[in-house]
Symmetry: D2
């Protein structure tokens, strides 16, 4: 069997993210899904496994059972990697056990509930040489990768301003009636952690900034909004960013941007050129100049970098989307697992997870202190 | 095993369309690929099957062997459907045999080399109740389906003008050097048939018109262009369309539209409203009015039709693309195979194949007669 | 007085085109409007002149009176140029007299009712050195001028395909009720001539093609549509174009493209690059390549040609529109009048008028002959 | 003479803003320019007046002389209104004198150097019934006016988030070389006041927010950036906004957004719908919904409000731009002068001037205090 044997924890019946992981894993014929823990209800889990033609002998009751039973199999028959697609608050415990037991891990974002947890995972990963792929999928778009390379080779010059936005109206129809609040797990601190919006959307935007520019955010000043008094977690955030030197930026994210669908947009301005990318139109990248025509990069052009060309599966002009961006991370993880070498930028790692958790904690702290600057430790 | 057992003929090592069929088939966990004839070279075929974790016992030397050996298996173990992803000139023979042997067929476009062949297949399909899914994939986009429904329910009023375009620059870098001509099978009449551009791009555009409007083209007047004297087949076509009554239209397709990527665009104007859709921005549909704001339909809105919602796999705003449109045809075919009932519009059928071949033959005939009107028989 | 003294014939109370001419004339402080024949009703004409602060002594009852009385003034006090903004069917007679009397002429399009008339004017203009500016205003957009220059300097290589469109829904709400037909002068052959759509929109599109490419259309095959039997003139046209060699093209124009506003779009493909321009987004020009990023030209960049920079009045990014395009023709005419030298491309001339009338006559003839090829004489 | 007699102070030879005021004033034939003080150098001023065909007798050496000499003319012969198009630091003194002398005033933005000055002008205007039109021209776009009306009639519901941006790369090529700094008056506090970017771009954005929403900003927290240590004034600003209740927003403006041309963009989200407008594409307005198709408003549709229709001069689809937006303010001022009644929203007033100066002072104060919240007094 050529495909890397993969298990999945979570993402069972009716789960969009479970569907996404399965599709991303199988897209490039690099992984073979062999079993997992699809639901906390074992009967449901088995039924689900049957519906997708899996061998029910490898459906397990828990992560612990998965680890025990898979490790009992011959090395070349057991799972090599396990995807964690559970609700966020269960990530840490599953990841910890899986890493310790020697599995490579693909994990949904945000990585953990706290920065301390993420740091513990980072330490374990470092010690064991685990491949830990964190699915901040927007880094998988070929044009995002082209953007990273353009900056890397100095096309933009010295970066002088950064602006990122992630707006959607997703919670808008629900939030206006207080009765709905209980039904949304993202509003429940015991499941969502200390933040709703910053943790869910803000981390994507933050990771995109650090991914594309390879420059670290040093400090934040955050203004969060719950919209309604009494709503426990933030729905909207504007966060001032400092990067060191005179480089400043702003990150804006919102779940109450009525009518916006998935408006993740990034603008980066250097002293030579600027660039713009929008997730709803992901196959274009705009390179801007003050004295020459703008350039519109698109996938599959022979002038593109090898890195972005490798993330493209179709003739140019045929649109690729969300699933392909996700699959590019899996493709990168597969390569890392097979070669035991990680390519810079091929997928977000546990280090990105630590960074995003530092960001969430600093942002919430800044807001609580009355919009003061807080450094990312 | 729940997935419909699928074989593939063609689409082997390095084939983009083979990759596309496999991905479309597995995307929704409706089909399970079990074997096929991936290459005319058996050794290559076996090697390829291994690379994608297939059981090499079900790799065959020919369509004939596939049919014989699969029919020798118990009914619930044998292939139910077979995908034909060979070069065009081999479609007819494979399809004919597979239909006769009782397999359902998913077939690449253009369906056959001649209209007569397509008509023979249509007759066979009618007699046997075969599900025959022709992969004019652009009909699989949710917003194309929404467009069909908007017209079906009369939103546009009586249709009064139709304009469709399919432009790309694909052959542009190659065609200018005569030395390249031999290497392009689409320029070889023995493999491509009587047309290059009309058969390849024109049929997609034609099918999209008839799919969205459900109105038949009655006659065409075609002006083809080979660009270079001596090039055996057309690279560019402008084709006047008549639909009966005073409804006229135009179809433009080109392989020499330098710098265009996959510019398939359709505009349909009724006496009440108009609509526009573009394949490079497939997740939007523009509904136009002379006296009210234009409307931009997008996937996943609760006001959309059930038909378009069923073709959407992601939260709104997350882009879907080419592969998902393709997979929607497979999804439709799976439903037809399971329920033994075909839903109107769920996938293009052999009847669409006959229509497109009539169109190609009429267009080429019109051009050869010196740009005269020729009816689609 | 520095401004060139200008009279206007037509374009009186309530006239949009009259307003446009006055604004275009005064925009750059090159012309000073001093009088005219604003209406066939003298009292109305006087009242109108008062409303715009003109000296009523220079309001005349007819073109004849204008000529007689102005010529009686001292040379440096009399009108130098006269704008013809009457309905089309009156252009020829006014132009003829004004040219003969030594005035420069700015004339609305389409230039005349017949090609023969246009040719007579061309002869007169040639003999007298008249500046004759024909207001096919779309040639005045800076990005159209940039396009002309890009082709002139060979950036696109050899042109291999041309596609132009001019769609609007303007007549759509009116035409469906036969009772309205009488009220629309464009449907009346005695006023509109032999064509409605081709003469009104088609000539703009045709002129744009010849302006940008500097290549002449040799022959046309036209399919016109009146939409309703009994409607005397065409509302819609698809016209195949031949330019000589293997260069072909298509021109599409429609008054029944429901919901389209002013969708004039041109695409020109060369063997090296392609370009696209759209009138509704006039400040951008797309230069397309098969192997490099597309480029988006915009006004006011230092890399632009002097010719396009001269047609820009604002800081880049501040939108310019229809009126400025119109004013650029007046600016060009002023320069020609002052310097007695015409700059190529500065404004459409009577020669463009002759070309457009040849085009209209050939298109109508082609259609009447049953969609046969007709050469432009 | 029907046109309102207008004088201009400033805006002489080579001045873009002078050209803009003259064009805006004459566009609708509501004003007649009769004289002014075009330059501090009288000889230049006279020469300039001649070049635009003005009577040099009404060219004055100073505002004082203008006032004295014009008041000596008969009432119906003298200037009714005077435009102030000087550098900012001269606005206050000219405005003060002109208002006191009974002239109506059209004044460039930002209105004054300090808030105290603006408040003094507001008091004078209130006492004398002066029409004071402040040319924050972006409020003149028909689609901005439509936006104001949509919010006024409750289409968006309760406003819950506001985001405005004004980015350009204008200073980018200049600022990187310290030697250029001296040559830019906007970097000189004695001429530009306490702010460069906030005063120039931020005030436009701020005014647009208050204009469209009719909701007042209560407090700001500003983070300004000079980019280079030693540059005396800000080039870039991110400013958190509070409006009272739980309504928050953000204003971002930059002169160092490399390659951006005039990227003024506003997004307003209500609990029912959202809207978006962009100055570089000013003739569209997007109305967004979570559960229905987005709507694209455009000029000239019969379903538009009378207010936006009145600001449109052309057939729909023909682009209008910057000059027309400017002219709409003049049109509004003319109506107010003639009727002695001001229509709400017809043009920004001295009250908008006071608001913008409060904003500038609060923003600079906030930044200096280390990014603290500062209320607009």
């Amino acid at each position: 069997m050529r495909g890397i044997k993969l298990g999945i924890v979570g993402g069972g019946p009716g789960s969009f993210i479970g569907f996404t992981h399965r599709l991303a894993a199988k897209m490039d014929e690099e992984f073979a899904l062999v079993g997992g823990v699809f639901s906390s209800d074992y009967a449901k889990s088995v039924k689900f496994a049957r519906s997708i033609d899996l061998d029910v002998k490898r459906v397990y009751r828990s992560v612990d059972e998965l680890i025990e039973r898979e490790r009992a199999l011959p090395v070349d028959g057991r799972m090599t990697a396990v995807t964690i697609a559970t609700p966020n608050y269960l990530h840490y415990d599953a990841a910890r056990k899986l890493i310790r037991a020697g599995f490579h891990v693909i994990c949904d974002k945000p990585v953990t509930m706290t920065c301390a947890e993420a740091e513990r995972l980072e330490k374990m990963v470092g010690e064991r040489g685990t491949v830990f792929c964190l699915t901040h999928n927007y880094t998988g778009y070929p044009m995002v990768r082209e953007a990273r390379k353009l900056i890397e080779k100095g096309t933009l010059g010295r970066i002088q301003k950064i602006d990122v936005q992630y707006y959607m109206g997703a919670f808008n129809p629900l939030v206006h009636d207080k009765k709905n609040w209980k039904s949304i797990w993202r509003f429940d601190p015991s499941k969502a952690g200390i933040s709703c919006n910053v943790a869910d959307l803000g981390t994507h935007a933050f990771n995109l900034v650090e991914y594309i520019t390879q420059i670290e955010v040093k400090a934040v000043l955050a203004d969060l909004n719950t919209l309604y008094d009494g709503l426990p977690l933030d729905l909207d955030a504007t966060i001032l960013l400092r990067f060191g030197g005179n480089l400043k930026g702003v990150l804006r994210s919102s779940h109450i941007a009525t009518g916006e669908e998935n408006a993740l947009e990034i603008k980066i301005y250097g002293d030579r050129m600027g660039l713009r990318w929008e997730e709803e139109n992901p196959n274009c990248l705009y390179l801007l100049s003050d004295n020459k025509p703008a350039q519109v990069y698109s996938r599959g052009k022979s002038s593109n970098t090898k890195f972005s060309l490798e993330g493209t599966r179709v003739y140019r002009g045929l649109p690729e989307g969300f699933f392909e961006s996700f699959a590019n991370l899996y493709k990168g993880a597969a390569k890392a697992i097979r070669t035991k070498r990680e390519t810079s930028g091929a997928f977000p790692t546990i280090h990105d997870g630590v960074r995003t958790m530092k960001f969430v904690e600093a942002a919430v702290s800044s807001h609580k202190k009355g919009n003061k600057w807080v450094e990312l430790r």
